[in-house]
Symmetry: C2
Subunit: 200 residues, 2 copies
């Protein structure tokens, strides 16, 4: 009897262990999504999972304040994974493999010449349609020529976005980062309160 009892306990325990393995799977998958994935041609696959990264800021360059043609129309919502935010706060630099996402959204139907509109909360700007994704990836070997960062655009237009993107020419993205923010690891820390100001 004792033998069967032990076999039973062993069996139950294996089942329980198996259940936790299954339960743990989504966490593993989430970690994988946060890594830059390149296809066989060296194109970056559209990152997923960034909606649960830390939102660090939303510079807004309305078309209406930029002769109808903003470089990034119009909100640029920026996301960085929490572990990389924490590392930057500790070291002043981003770890290898850091991915930064910039998702654009249009402003909602402007009624004033400056692109703003009036709502119960006041006159200002409100989020219109999602309008494109850019990504930057830190890989000091792969992108050695551009200070360790590669830049990618998945299109500045409403969804669906491109599923893959090749590295943008240095003149299109990296050169501006090199000119203005080389000292802050090629990123616009001056616009991100969580990274710029003293921690909470």
């Amino acid at each position: 009897m004792k033998k069967y009892g032990l076999a039973l306990i062993g069996g139950i325990a294996v089942v329980v262990a198996g259940w936790f393995l299954v339960d743990a799977k989504p966490v593993v998958a989430k970690t994988e999504q946060s890594t830059a994935v390149f296809d066989s041609q060296g194109k970056l696959k559209l990152p997923t999972g960034f909606r649960e990264w830390v939102f660090v800021g939303a510079p807004l360059t309305p078309n209406s304040l930029n002769n109808g043609k903003a470089n990034f129309p119009e909100y640029h919502n920026v996301y960085i994974e929490k572990k990389n935010v924490d590392a930057y706060l500790k070291t002043g630099t981003f770890p290898e493999g850091t991915v930064i996402i910039k998702e654009l959204t249009r402003v909602l139907n402007p009624t004033f010449p400056d692109g703003s509109r009036s709502e119960p909360s006041g006159r200002g700007y409100f989020n219109g349609e999602l309008n494109g994704i850019d990504a930057s990836v830190k890989d000091t070997k792969r992108f050695a020529k551009t200070n360790g960062w590669g830049y990618f655009t998945f299109g500045h237009h409403p969804r669906p976005y491109q599923q893959t993107a090749e590295e943008a020419p240095a003149t299109e993205c990296a050169s501006c980062h090199q000119s203005f923010v080389a000292k802050t690891d090629m990123t616009w820390i001056q616009f991100y309160p969580l990274l710029r100001d003293k921690p909470e």
Copy 2:
């Protein structure tokens, strides 16, 4: 021998199961942070963990476009936990216990009369100092008088924020939500592309 073998397997399996239990703890802790916590006087404790919730939009009502006195100065960054975003997309209503966070940030040192400034990405608005937190909590029993939602402000000023907040008078918050967005579960879905537009 067989008996000891089974006991050993059983023991290992229990240890393995235990390890997965321990490993699962951080997820549980994160879930706890996302729940509204009230103190003995019924005040809401300042929610934590929201920086890893889903950012859904950033209405911007610059002081400069609102006679120097915006109701919410000036960016209002809004966060909702992913499971509640998913539930809304499925059902058109938020689950009991949903917490919505609105964190304010000032605009960065304006140089134009409309509150904007010029940067390499164009003329517009950029995130200044973090400037306060408001929260709303869905609890149809506790807040039955205000359509099931309670509203709280932890101060509209730079950090440190208040650590607890009592429910705001209905005339201060709930009445505006009731007047304008009662049909979308008291929330400003029309400004949140992920909730307003068709899913990705």
